[in-house]
Every structure is written in C-alpha cells, then in structure tokens.
Amino acid sequence: MSSTHAETVSPAKADAPRRRRRMPLVMVLCSGWLVLCVVLAIGADLIAPYGYAEQSLLHRLKPPAFLGGDPAYLLGTDGLGRDVLSRLIFAMRTSILIAFCGTLIGSTIGTILGFLAAHFRGWVEDAVMLMVDFQAAMPFLIIALAILAFFGNSFGLFLVVVGFHGWEVYARLTRGLVLQANAQGYAFAIRTLGVHPLRIYVRHVLPNILSVLVVQVTLNFPEIILLETSLSFLGLGVQPPQTSLGLMLGEGRNYIATAWWMAIPAGVAIFLTTLSVSLLGDWLRDRLDPTLRTAQQ
C-alpha cells in the first residue's frame, strides 16, 4: 500500500506547473471513498441488510463470508450476533454526522469570533486572543474529557463538545485575514461608500478569505473524526445501543484474538476516511492557494 501511495501521491505535491493537471487518480479514489461514506450514511436504513441492534444469538461470532462464514453476513457477526456490515454502515452514519456537525459548530464559532476580534480590536480582541491562547495551550482531548466527566455524557453535549475542537484555529486565521483584508483597497473603498460593516464582511471580505477557511476545514474534519472515535473507543463518547466507528473498535478490542473482524473493518473505515480528507485537503490547498506551503499545518 505504501509503495502505490508513494508513486501516486507525488504528482499532487510536485512543482507548480504539474499541479494544474486534472485530478490525480489518488484524489479520485479519495473522493470516491468519501462519496461512498456519505451515500452509506444517508441511506443507512435502506442499504444496511440488518438493523444495527438486531441480535441473533444463534449466529454469534460468525466469520466474514469470504472466510467461510455465513453468506448472509458479509463481514461476519459480533459477540451478540449482530451483523458487522450493518453496524459498520450505521456507525459510519453516526461518526460522519458528528464530524460534520462538529466542523460546522467549530468553524462557525471560530470564524465569528475572529471577525469580532478584527472588527472591534481593543479588549474584545484581547479577550478572544487570550481564549485562543488558552485553548491552544491545553490538549483539547483533556478539556473534552473534563467536561464529559463533570456534566455526564449525553449525545447532545458530546456533539457540542466535539464540535468545539479547533475553533481557536479558525478564530486566529479569520482575525489575521480580516485585518489583512481591512487594510486593502477594496474594503476601504466599500467602507467609504457607507456600507454597513456587516454587509462588508459577509458580502466582500468573507468570499475573499473563504478558500483559506475551506482548507482549514479539511484539516479540522479528520481531527474531529479522530477525537470522536477516540472518545467513543474509550467508552466515553457515543453510548450503546447507538454505535460509532470508535465504539465498534472499542467493543471489538476484547474479541481481537478470536474475532478480529469485529474491530478491523471499523478501524480501516476511520483510517480511510481521515486519510482521504487529509489527502484531498493537501491537494485542495495546492490548488486554491499556491502561496500556502504544505507544511504549514
């Protein structure tokens, strides 16, 4: 696997003129995987052969069909006789939904705070930047764990906590970009026309800085998936009977010696998803902004 990646990753990272060619094969594969994930997530109820909590104690720990198991259970069954493939599809739905909402929450809050800091300057800016520094200094996983410990776990709280991951990067980026934009001629020109600041920011500045924020989303999204799956893996995130990719891996861990198919597919799904988004993000960054260097994360 590593050798094929080595060969095919390189064109996207090669020198500038070669970058302009059509989408490299790896990017097509990455997009394909992500589209598949989204389709599975949306159509989980229709696509999954069984329900995610449907147990069949007669069919416990069946190996996958390609290893001589029951053809009715393509990826085998778990310790309660639940179909691994169906659970994988539903787990994908939960994990992608959380990552999607989480990215939306963090990017919205961070971007708004960045705009506020750049617009008001003074103590507002100081306060925002102080929070940004604090957040950047503390590992987010620890903060998330502390909040879940103090308030107890519920799906809504978990979603919000996970969503806050990475807000400080958006805030810092947005503040810097808006300050830059405000100093430019176009923003000054519109301002002298007497346009309301809100309109300037939403209609003129935001579209100009959006590409950088989109690139940040591609960095943030895999991190949120990793955060959610880590917490769920530890049993502190998504709670049974609901399922998530991390939770599946956590449950399958105890059976790893006898029924590896319970855990491995979920792990592979997490890995492929974060890898796809990261690779697409790298590629997108090169396309959108040649001045941003790949290593700047």
Binding site: A6, L130, F134, A137, P139, L141, A149, I270, S278
Partner: protein, 312 residues
C-alpha cells in the same frame, strides 16, 4: 533577549494558569451541587444545609473561588472518593510511569521524525522523499488506538514476540511507545523536511557551498542549526498532542499511568481526580510553552514579544 520579552511571556503563562483554574472551578460549579449529588435524595434539608455550610457552598461565589484557589495553592485538590485518599497523591504516584512512556515516545519521535525529515529533505523529489512523505500522511491519519490494536494483533498475538499489555521489562514499553510516537513523529518529519528545505535555499547555504565547505559540514553545521529553531518549537508546542495521545494509548495497553487513571476517573465521575489531572496537565503545558518561547527568543534574536502573530 530583553527582560520585557521574558516578563511578557511569564505574564502570559500565569494568565493561562489562572484561566485553567477558573475553567475547572466554573465547570465544577456549573455541573451541579456536590452535596445533592453525594447525599441520598431523602436527606433532611437541615443536614444538607449543614454540609453546604461545612464545605463553604453557602458563601458567595467570589469567596468560594478565592477559597478554591487558596486550597489549590496549598496542595488541596480534593479527595478521590474511589480511593478515599487525597487526589493529588493518587495522581502523583502514576506520574513516573506516564513519564517513562511519554519520554520514550518523545525520543522515538525525535529520532524518527527529525531523521526522516532530514532524509526526505536531502533526497527531495526522489522515491525516498515520496515514500517518507506518504508514510507521514498515513501516520497522521492513523488513529493511534487502531494502530495499537493492530500492533497487538501482530506482535503479541500472531508472532508472540512482545507482551500486549502491562508494565515490567523494556519489552512492555516498545508497543505503547511506538503507538504513541507515530503520529507525533509524522508531524515532526513533515515540519523538519519543510523547514530544512527552506534553509537549503537560503543564500548563506550557497555561500557555504561556494566556499568549498564539505557536504556533511554544510548540513550539520549550517543548515540544521537554522532549521532547528522551528523544529524545537513544533516539538514543544505539539507536546499537547502527545499528552492527549497518552490518554488514549495507555488504556489500550493497560499501561497504569495518568492517562488510564483519567479515563477511569471520567467513567466513574471521580471529579477530584479529573480536576487534579486537568490542572497538572495545564501546568505542564504552560511550563513547556514558556520554555519553548524563551528558547525560541534566545535562539533567534529577531523574535520579539508580539511576533507570534507572524507564525499564526
């Protein structure tokens, strides 16, 4: 390096600590009344009131906050209700094991990450470079708990050459340290490569070459010290990722360190332990960040108090 620079950084560090303590206090108070949580529901109101008075919960919030801060300054982090011992003692006895794992992973990171990054930069554009960079992307995307399970499956269960869990010999350390160090090493390798490439293009490197300085000395004596400044920074600033990673990796390998303690404490809502660990990590991060800042300013005199924005 001016005194103002150091004082500015010190002030920032203290402010971050105050924020951390305040954060824990606010979350603690917002999460509900500890008295009603600990006493049975049918406790008479007078008993509840007595407890509230005993713990100072009937006082105004600012006073409670002051008492809380004073308690922490005196080393009073509360009682672990599971161990029935001071939370600080429970946490501190786990620290050496976490340090052992963390420092091994850090050493691995530095060797693999910086070594790989240098190799990739020097062999830029070759298959070595591409393979290293592909591996860093994969290492970065790999969830550490999944990597840990795979390593256990291969090395402990299939080949039976390394223990899968617990502590004891150096063999127990290998799998957790590799698992913990991988994604960190990937980040460091990418960063090392790019900052070294940047330095290699500098005019002084061309000068050195024109003067006839041998290759090895050009790299070790001229390029690395200059590229080293941002590398030190990323190693230091990314330490948070290592700490967060340890929380996930320790339970995978049943490594009885602070990370495992934290996960168990969160699961059982042993709040005194949780707050002690959060504050301990906050102190660690603040001290490390402060040291990185100072080192950075000391290594590169161009860095001044507010130049942090340039790197944002």
């Amino acid at each position: 390096m001016s005194l103002r620079f150091v004082l500015g950084k010190l002030l920032r560090a203290l402010l971050t600590l105050v924020l951390a303590v305040t954060f824990v206090f606010v979350v603690l108070r917002m999460s509900g009344d500890p008295v009603t949580q600990m006493l049975p529901d049918d406790t008479p109101a007078s008993v509840v009131a007595d407890y509230r008075q005993m713990w100072g919960l009937d006082r105004p919030l600012p006073e409670q906050y002051a008492r809380y801060v004073a308690g922490i300054l005196h080393g009073d982090f509360g009682f672990s209700f599971r161990d029935d011992r001071p939370a600080l003692d429970v946490v501190l006895e786990r620290v050496p094991l976490s340090l052992e794992l963390g420092l091994t992973a850090l050493a691995l990171t530095i060797v693999l990450g910086i070594g790989g990054g240098i190799l990739a930069a020097l062999k830029r554009g070759t298959s070595v470079d591409h393979a290293t960079m592909a591996m860093t992307i994969m290492g970065h995307s790999m969830p550490n708990f999944f990597l840990g399970i795979l390593l256990i499956l291969l090395f402990a269960m299939t080949w039976r050459i390394l223990p899968s869990s617990g502590v004891g010999t150096w063999k127990h350390l290998i799998l957790p340290a590799v698992t913990l160090g991988t994604s960190y090493a990937a980040t460091v390798a990418r960063f090392t490569r790019s900052s070294l490439l940047e330095v290699l293009n500098q005019p002084f490197m061309r000068t050195a070459r024109a003067k006839g300085v041998p290759f090895r000395r050009r790299i070790l004596g001229h390029a690395l010290p200059n590229a080293g400044i941002p590398i030190v920074t990323v190693v230091g600033l990314r330490l948070g990722a290592l700490i967060g990673g340890a929380v996930v990796v320790e339970p995978v390998f049943a490594w009885p360190g602070v990370g495992q303690l934290l996960v168990n404490a969160v699961a059982f809502r042993d709040l005194a332990i949780v707050q002690t660990i959060v504050l301990l990590i906050a102190v660690t991060m603040v001290v490390v960040n402060f040291m990185v800042d100072i080192t950075y300013g000391w290594l590169d005199p161009r860095i001044r108090v507010d130049s942090g924005e340039a790197t944002a």
